[in-house]
Symmetry: C2
């Protein structure tokens, strides 16, 4: 498909072309049932088998431990901002010998998404929000920005003793900062500083399925929208440890209840069948690509992590070189526009920054952005210089 | 596509083949942008233009009056069971000179879906549920069933004077009953019995876009999942009168707030882009098919209503004939199985009844089930006899 351009956008993001071609066939005829995937009953044996395979492949790729459920729902991160609060508070209230009538929710704020989540917890009430750290800072031109991950020292004695939840966002797409997945780095999430039983909640929307999740067994809830690495918008994946999904009360709307999802195996009502289908095709392909690169199934994500590392390193090197030669930082608005429109003409799109942080360049290297596409971008950057 | 079978299922249901072929192309390249529809930014000018056209075409087809918003969201009817209660109660509480501290919500229960909605309102609390009528009855073999729409007399003096909402479901797919759209019929919704200012909420999930909505201007909220006539599961459409979508408070999770959707024009977070796309293609096609059948744009739905009427009449006539000859009612379990598997072999699927009401045959005639498919089914029925 020579007319396909390269999508460096932050999301929805590029998907593998092979998958899109197969999905087009599935729209007309899902696995030789004679019915398209968007038309088939979600209670048909064919779809049931399919969704179980999607779950199984996700478990294999992420090495999800026993005792966790994988749930499929809708509403994206925004729905989960509220859902985690409602479900975790209900669980907290259900405990015998509850430590406090006003549960505390610990939020680690490192960017726009975790800030939104924290604000939703405050707005909903039902507990007190404790901002463990807030990495917001003021830029040289006086703007409030997020531009760094605080180091481990910043969390000292900041976590609550018996919180209803501890919340963080693994990767902040708007601001371009993420926790290191090297646990020895002071910029990884401070798992060791957490009180032993504190239920940890992570928004993994933008790095989901790009690399293994560090300390996955330390989490109570991990959620992610599909629209970055694995599928079309409209599917939200929740990975929840059993004990955090067994309480329901009248404070939780039916659709946001984890227990409802667990009890119905994600089929309480019609799931987003088409998004699940494409996600399933992507995961299957990830396992195949892993295998082609000599990885066992359990290690297939490692291949993608290595690719991501290579792509990012190349790009950073090129940016550094560019900076050293005064291309990017000094350029100003006009030069920026010129750079973006030049990229556009060369079929490289989505490199403009998020509307909420104003101008600037943002390049997202999701799984489906292949290494040769990055090389192409770098060639253009050098040419532009 | 000779390998496509006919889907008589109650939902997700058949979609027009032409649309599915076009959607397959759009997956790879949306409107010559070089980016697939599942990959393109929902904030791109191309998608923005597209979603506005979807809204415009929906407004034209349904003749939605001024003063209403058309919203696109996720979560299906189940999310709306809670959302309508939360939004309408917040609105009620916001009124000056509020009539009562414990608002009353009137539910008209004519089948399994409205019963579920009513139970969710009860479970959530925040108001008192008044079941205006409950059409549940006991079958000859002692089962609780819904099998009829109560006549207008049944509602006399049953509606509350100042309810926070009045709720009904236009078409109950599980039980196979629906309100007549002939306002002169005693089995239409009793619009005239409603207190003048009572805000009316309708679940139109299964008949949405199969015919015009009677007394559309009398409704405060109409909602529908896309997965019956217009698109894949994963998209929910809400039509709401402005005054019922201008209040937000801490009782409403961000994602379920109508005001949030209105303020962001349905783009508060990433919408289900792919489902909106296919819905857009279906609506465009409906306008074209209407035109081919001599209908003005505003009358295009009339064409589908006429088709639906013809298809249903044919089928009812055939069933009556079958009953008269003792085929269907007397058959019993074995005969039923034989009928279903015979249909299956002939490429006609989805005719088994809903799991929650046990056995039986259910045939759904959504827009994409064409008249000749119904003829084929009738031929088989006669053969089977």
């Amino acid at each position: 498909m020579s007319n396909r351009i390269t999508n460096f956008g932050a999301g929805p993001s590029a998907l593998p072309e092979e998958v899109l071609i197969e999905a087009g066939k599935g729209l007309l005829n899902f696995q030789n049932t004679g019915i398209g995937i968007a038309e088939i009953s979600h209670r048909s044996p064919e779809f049931d088998k399919f969704i179980r395979e999607v779950e199984e492949n996700m478990r294999t790729l992420l090495q999800i431990p026993h005792g966790y459920k994988v749930l499929f729902t809708q509403g994206g991160g925004t729905a989960q901002f509220s859902a985690v609060v409602m479900n975790m508070l209900a669980k907290y209230r259900s405990r015998e010998g509850m430590a406090s009538d006003q549960p505390i929710m610990d939020y680690v704020v490192t960017g726009s998404w975790s800030e939104k989540a924290m604000k939703e917890a405050k707005r909903l009430g039902g507990g007190t929000v404790n901002v463990v750290v807030n990495a917001q800072t003021t830029s040289v031109d006086g703007k409030k920005i997020f531009n760094h991950i605080p180091n481990h020292d910043s969390y000292k004695e900041k976590f609550s003793q018996d919180p209803a939840l501890v919340y963080y966002c693994a990767n902040e797409t708007i601001d371009g900062v993420e926790f290191s997945d090297d646990l020895n780095s002071p910029f990884s999430f401070p798992f060791n500083a957490l009180p032993e039983k504190a239920p940890l909640v992570a928004d993994y929307s933008s790095s989901f399925m790009s690399r293994p999740i560090p300390c996955i067994e330390r989490h109570a809830v991990i959620y992610a929208g599909a629209q970055k690495n694995i599928g079309p918008a409209g599917l939200t994946v929740i990975i929840v440890r059993d004990e955090w999904a067994n309480v329901m009360d009248s404070s939780i709307p039916l659709y946001l209840s984890y227990k409802t999802l667990v009890d119905s195996r994600s089929l309480h009502n019609t799931p987003p069948v088409l998004s699940i289908y494409i996600t399933g095709l992507v995961l299957k392909r990830m396992l195949e690509v892993g295998e082609q690169n000599g990885k066992a199934k359990e290690q297939a994500l490692g291949h993608y992590a290595e690719c991501a590392y290579r792509k990012a390193s190349k790009l950073y090197a090129a940016i550094k070189e560019g900076e050293a030669r005064g291309i990017f930082k000094v350029g100003g608005e006009e030069r920026l526009k010129e750079f973006v429109s030049g990229a556009d003409r060369r079929g490289m799109k989505g490199i403009k920054g998020h509307r909420s942080v104003g101008a600037g360049i943002r390049i997202s290297l999701y799984n489906a952005v292949t290494e040769d596409k990055v090389d192409e971008l770098i060639r253009y950057m050098k040419e532009f210089a």
